[in-house]
């Protein structure tokens, strides 16, 4: 897992290259350190919008030719925007890797940001947002994030507020692209069935000539310490059941408590994947699953935190069984939090979650995509070495460590509780 090459080019681009010889494929990623954390009110959603524009072409690869180029080679490509980063990737038969590397180097500098294309994409992105608005749990998440953070830009939705999406201009987008898309603000990751030294050379050739730029502005907002519970109750039509979303302030990826918080999450709902946004372990024997799902209070429950560049949120999410009061779901969940703060976890339970963690580290090695994603995500918010360090730190954890972080972070005054309560008037739909 720890056998990657790690070099930084003269222009500041960090390059991570790892060999994997299980299948004749390779993947190439570029992670830019820009996401909704780097946005200011009035321009929320601009990082995600720029991501869309990077698929619209360059002078060398005009609009419409990019997809053709990758797919004709049997490849797949996509991108996503998150709070801390925007990531672009290709996965393709290994003999075509160089095409992906050249393409990414090209669109790092030469993306055409055309006013007509910007206008067309505005309605596409508003449509993307409105599609999410059709789901009650999406609204609830937006409300909880905006309430949990008063000052820090983690309060802003990645897709942006709708009025900002209506107002952002072509020049705003161009400026954002120019500010954040350059080598020193990016990490390139290649994993595949290749010779690492050769691929490193290809990356250096493709990116090495891109001039260095000024470092982008660093977001300065610091979230003041929360000293009392916050609550929001969202009442809307369009939902069939109630949802619970509890968010506790939690530390950033580089904090020494991250391993214990990950294991705490595993005890509550099963150890989450090492690869961000991955499914993780089953968790049907976990404490919250037993307390909420096995007892018939909730249809599902989840928890966790995404390793983040700055202090973030540890979330507990549940969907109430239809007809069950959301208060009962919250009470049952909070009783479990109090139990884990009061009584030490026994060694057997802790060993179970450690075993889940070890398995997740192995699963993260199955396929070039997962390897590259885990490596890139940690490099973008902390260091790639954090991955291996986490594995070792988790193995060393004792029951007291779990109780300590539960007592330190999962406390009432650090939490924001959100309820979605469905309003009537919707039952006739679908009849």
């Amino acid at each position: 897992m720890d056998d990657w090459r790690d070099v930084t080019l003269a222009n500041g681009l960090r390059v991570l290259v790892q060999e994997s010889h299980a299948a004749p494929v390779a993947t190439f990623w570029v992670w830019y350190r820009v996401g909704s954390r780097h946005e200011v009110p009035g321009l929320t959603g601009i990082s995600h919008w720029v991501e869309h524009l990077l698929f619209k072409g360059t002078p060398s690869y005009p609009a419409g030719t990019l997809s053709r180029l990758i797919e004709r080679l049997g490849g797949r490509w996509n991108a996503f925007t998150w709070k801390d980063y925007t990531a672009y990737f290709e996965v393709l038969p290994v003999e075509h890797l160089e095409t992906a590397i050249r393409l990414e180097a090209d669109r790092m500098q030469h993306t055409i940001i055309d006013p007509e294309v910007v206008a067309g994409e505005r309605t596409v992105i508003i449509s993307e947002r409105e599609g999410a608005e059709n789901f009650p749990a999406y609204y609830l998440r937006e409300e909880v994030d905006a309430l949990a953070f008063k000052a820090h830009p983690y309060r802003q939705p990645v897709i942006g507020w709708k009025d900002d999406l209506r107002a952002i201009t072509r020049d705003d987008l161009y400026r954002h692209y120019r500010t954040y898309y350059h080598p020193a603000n990016a990490i390139a990751v290649a994993v595949g069935d290749f010779d690492a030294a050769a691929v490193q050379g290809i990356v250096e050739t493709a990116f090495g000539g891109i001039p260095a730029s000024d470092p982008p502005p660093v977001p300065r907002a610091v979230e003041p310490e929360q000293s009392g519970e916050r609550r929001v109750v969202l009442r809307r039509p369009g939902g069939a059941t109630a949802y619970l979303h509890v968010a506790y302030h939690a530390p950033a990826a580089g904090h020494p408590d991250l391993p214990a918080l990950m294991v705490l999450d595993g005890i509550l709902t099963g150890f989450a994947g090492i690869v961000p946004f991955d499914g993780g372990s089953g968790g049907r024997s976990s404490r919250l699953y037993r307390a909420l799902v096995d007892r018939g209070l909730a249809a599902d429950v989840g928890s966790g935190l995404v390793a983040s560049a700055e202090p973030t949120l540890f979330r507990i999410l549940a969907t109430a069984h239809s007809g069950v009061e959301i208060r009962a779901v919250e009470d049952a969940a909070m009783a479990e939090i109090e139990r884990i703060q009061r009584d030490p976890v026994d060694e057997t339970e802790l060993d179970k979650v450690k075993r889940q963690a070890r398995a997740q580290f192995v699963y993260a090695q199955d396929g070039v995509m997962r390897r590259a994603m885990a490596l890139g995500a940690f490099a973008a918010v902390d260091t790639p070495e954090r991955l291996g360090a986490l594995r070792e730190a988790i193995d060393r954890l004792a029951p007291d460590d779990i109780m300590r972080v539960a007592r330190a972070y999962l406390v009432e005054k650090r939490r924001t509780v959100g309820w979605f309560v469905p309003e009537d008037g919707a039952q006739e739909a679908g009849a």
Binding site: T241, G282, R284, A359, Y363
Partner: protein
């Protein structure tokens, strides 16, 4: 291109009870992936909509040997996962474990498939989850549109005419006895196949499968039931459902497609690829999203199984753009039907289909699913070796003819979203 999955690289064994076991070693990762099918989907609901789903969802909740929590504890203690996913034609059994833990993974799979308990308390919990899902889906615009489409496009009684979710009234009436009866009659070793891929030895896996599944002795042959003809509607039919509290409209437009065994399957599959998948969601995506900026998603999809599932276009658009989006979709369908793919488009589709095999097979799970699908539809273990030839032999004219199966007039159309025509003051 190197074909990543050949007949020679796979071990296929039919156990004496009829269960098929496929094994493909894939070293390096330390992982083992399981992908299996039991041909016991909601096509066998037989007047009790939701029954197959209820059965599949309850399997993991306890066996005659262990309770649900005991099974969960054992899997979680290994960091393994085992899920049972009900579908219309088949129920999928998907698992993942460290390679050293293959035995407990397979033993658990055997235990829940062969001797599930269907304990009353567990069934009650599952019923609550299923009813919650039915109610949530009844207010989910994508689900509402899809269900309405199914009612319009398929004759009553056809498995594709309804959602496998079932209906609340039926779910409320089903009990453990119904679950046991369905399991006894439909969960047959002769209707089950398992693909195992990972850091394993094929002989050992086959022996292990014979050991843990050998006790499954249920006689009976699987056969596809007869259903009413799903021929396309003779005139356009349309449904629009208002779902309060929503911002966007979701639409589904199409008709019954083809079965996986249909001789025209590959031509229809390629027509679908060109229409709404290749590149940024094919010709439809290029028009609706790229040129007109109307939708984040607008694509076509072909569901071909033992039966002719839907061939549909789905899009999510602003309520004011529904009619424009429909016109654009029909324009693109008509365009493909009139002139077929350009030489470049056809070349792109062919190289994509053959070239992307390596990428689809880059994980143990991807290989296991491909193997299971090959067995399910009896494609032959040399299928991927023959695949490039099949695609090269599917030409321009065949794709035009296939595209004409998509109706531009007598289609089924369902729209769900906010009220597009609110009463004026």
């Amino acid at each position: 291109m190197t074909v990543p999955l050949t007949a020679a690289s796979v071990s296929r064994t039919v156990l004496p009870n009829g269960l098929v076991c496929l094994v493909k070693p894939s070293h390096e990762s330390g992982v083992v992936a399981l992908h299996g099918y039991v041909k016991a989907g909601s096509i066998f609901d037989d007047g009790q909509p939701g029954l197959a789903r209820f059965v599949a969802s309850t399997l993991i909740r306890g066996s005659l040997r262990r309770t649900g929590p005991q099974i969960a504890e054992a899997l979680d203690a290994l960091g393994a996962t085992l899920t049972v996913s009900p579908g219309i034609e088949v129920t999928a059994v998907v698992g993942r474990a460290l390679a050293d833990d293959l035995r407990p993974l397979l033993e658990t799979a055997a235990e829940i498939l062969i001797e599930p308990a269907f304990a009353a308390s567990e069934a009650e919990n599952v019923r609550g989850e299923l009813i919650t899902a039915v109610r949530v889906n009844a207010l989910d615009t994508r689900q509402v549109a899809e269900r309405a489409f199914r009612r319009l496009a398929y004759p009553e009684g056809h498995p594709h005419s309804r959602s496998p979710d079932g209906e609340e009234t039926h779910l409320a009436a089903l009990g453990p006895a119904d679950l046991r009866a369905f399991h006894a009659g439909r969960y047959l070793p002769g209707a089950t196949l398992l693909a195992v891929v990972g850091d394993v030895d094929p002989v050992q896996v086959t022996d292990l499968a014979a050991e843990v599944f050998g006790r499954w002795q249920v006689p009976g042959q699987w056969a596809l039931p007869a259903f009413p003809d799903p021929s396309a509607p003779s005139s356009p039919c349309r449904d629009e459902t208002v779902v309060p509290g929503k911002t966007q409209s979701d639409l589904v437009l199409g008709a019954p497609g083809v079965a996986r065994t249909d001789p025209d399957y590959y031509a229809v599959m390629m027509a679908n690829l060109l229409l709404g998948q290749l590149g940024m969601m094919g010709r439809i995506g290029r028009n609706v999203r790229e040129q007109q900026g109307m939708a984040y998603y607008a694509f076509s999809d072909l569901r071909a199984g033992f039966l002719a599932g839907p061939w549909w276009v789905k899009a999510g658009v602003s309520p004011v753009n529904v009619d424009r989006a429909i016109a654009a979709i029909l324009h693109e369908v008509g365009g493909l039907q009139a002139t077929g793919p350009s030489p470049d488009e056809l070349a792109d589709a062919r190289t994509f289909l053959t070239g992307s095999l390596a990428v689809r097979l880059e994980t143990s799970q991807g290989i296991a699913q491909m193997l299971a699908d090959i067995e399910l539809y009896d494609l032959g273990l040399d299928y991927l070796e023959r695949f490039p030839g099949i695609i090269a032999g599917t030409g321009h004219d065949a794709i035009i003819q296939a595209s004409r199966r998509f109706p531009t007039e007598a289609y089924a159309l369902a729209v769900a979203g906010p009220d597009r025509h609110p009463p004026t003051q």
